[in-house]
Subunit: 308 residues, 2 copies
């Protein structure tokens, strides 16, 4: 659930009711996700996949995909299978990231992590199952979109998850753990790949499904790049300033792991300022879309104002 009372709209968004928008879209996504994985034999693997996929969360990735598709002239229906697939991929990355061989986390979104409930073997397989199903789901369920666009989405998503994206970012992240001399360049690489690549795919794929022009896709890509990095800077800040209850996961992990973060390089206040600058640059990219860009502009500002 979005914590409405923690979100004071800034003057810029006074005309757009983001809280209601997010609630409605989150609800739509929950309903769609609920339908994606029916439980059948062998029940355990379907239950493990559902356990993490339906564990709540802000559903920012599918919401960004739907919003971009609508802004560029498409419909919610065209983008919903891709939106669900994005959440499956995000969930798979969390399940594998939490494994003992990786970050070794016991809690996620306030619940026990997948391997703590189902065992490591099933958690690895649940991640694999979600990743494979994401691609199947897009290919089999996308309607009223020319097949060449759907194939482009498959290619974008595959790239966003693989070694050129999320997986590559995680490898560099693992390598830099415990090192206190990680450069800003490396830190940017980690986040542009570990978090940024999938966020960018959400936004670009929304445009691809709607048939956006190359020029518009470039604007979307710039918007995504900027909010992706801002998102990570704020994540690092929240790891220091928020409580475990607010985060729904272990707080202060970065400091314990002696990880270099944006606040450790810049301090908390400067980190917040840098994030704000990125958000403004992101929103400038959307000016040509006029009023249709309101949800994505508001979403960008939401990223820096969130407290969990």
């Amino acid at each position: 659930m979005v914590a409405a009372d923690n979100l004071k709209p800034t003057p810029k968004q006074a005309t757009f009711d983001l809280i209601t928008y997010l609630k409605e879209r989150q609800q739509l996504c929950e309903e769609a996700l609920e339908q994606t994985i029916p439980v059948r034999y062998p029940e355990k693997i379907y239950e493990a996949m559902r356990y993490s996929l339906l564990a709540g969360g802000k559903r920012l990735r599918p919401i960004l995909c739907l919003a971009t598709c609508e802004m560029t002239g498409g419909t919610i229906e065209m983008a919903m299978p891709t939106a669900c697939a994005l959440e499956m991929i995000h969930t798979m990355s969390l399940i594998h990231d939490d494994l003992p061989a990786m970050d070794n986390d016991d809690y996620r979104r306030g619940k026990l992590t997948n391997h703590k409930v189902y065992g490591e073997d099933v958690a690895i397989l649940a991640g694999d199952g979600l990743l494979a199903y994401a691609f199947e789901y897009i290919a089999a369920h996308t309607k009223n979109v020319p097949p060449e666009r759907v194939l482009q989405v498959v290619a974008h998503l595959g790239r966003a998850v693989g070694a050129a994206g999320l997986v590559g970012g995680q490898v560099v992240d693992l390598e830099s753990e415990g090192k206190s001399d990680t450069s800003l360049e490396t830190l940017n690489f980690i986040h542009n790949h570990k978090t940024g690549a999938l966020l960018k795919a959400c936004i670009v794929c929304g445009g691809v499904l709607a048939g956006a022009s190359e020029k518009d896709l470039q604007r979307l890509s710039n918007y995504a790049q900027n909010i992706g990095l801002a998102f990570q800077i704020i994540d690092d800040v929240l790891d220091i300033t928020a409580t475990q209850e607010q985060l729904g996961k272990t707080a202060g992990k970065d400091q314990q792991a002696k990880k270099v973060t944006y606040p450790s390089l810049w301090g908390i206040e400067e980190s917040r300022r840098q994030a704000q600058k990125l958000i403004e640059a992101a929103c400038a990219e959307l000016e040509p879309f006029g009023k249709a860009a309101e949800p994505l502009v508001a979403l960008a500002h939401f990223i820096t104002s969130r407290n969990h």
Copy 2:
């Protein structure tokens, strides 16, 4: 490499030189696979992916895909990206299957397993990277095939890997470990999913890419189902009769793990007879294709005559 001296052609295949065919196709696949993953920063993940993908093996899956595409009127070029993707997916399943939390294997194809060389964290990510890249590779590199067929291939493959296929088979396999009362029905489920689903995808996708009719796709599916099960029966037999050197992996693992296998249910001789029956049923499905089916008929017989 195919061990030529262990392969005596049976009278049925006297007219078709399977050994030369396999050598040529294996070489084609090796060359294509070698090109799929260039090494770039962060090198470690690309090297880990290449280490297992290029570790040799018979390349049966890609060869089956190419052969089916050609038999049904397509070309090698149309099927090669899918063939490479099939080997990426197969490799990912081996990397994850070998992990300590799963089968905990130290050797595979005569080499140290991925996690023994690169660590568990990188091995998990290398598998994820290969799985995501497989879909990207098909979507981005398939040429001269209508996009709706390529999308069908993506859907087939996703299904073959996920909970409805390979992953589902592995979960039941893990659950039945150490149980001596596993039924023939459960054993068939495990193998139809763990090995059969991907083999079927190789063969059906070859036909889909070539634009085969629904009727022909059904024949291909039946052929695949039969050789898939025969393949597994022979695998179980070889686990007992072959040496570690011949297998390139730990031998006798099934007996050590007290796993129910086909030979443990039927004995070795009856297992071989059942496999032979399945191969004959498989080949009968290909009769309408006439001489064009020679490679797939010979490949089916190869499965029961192999000794590693």
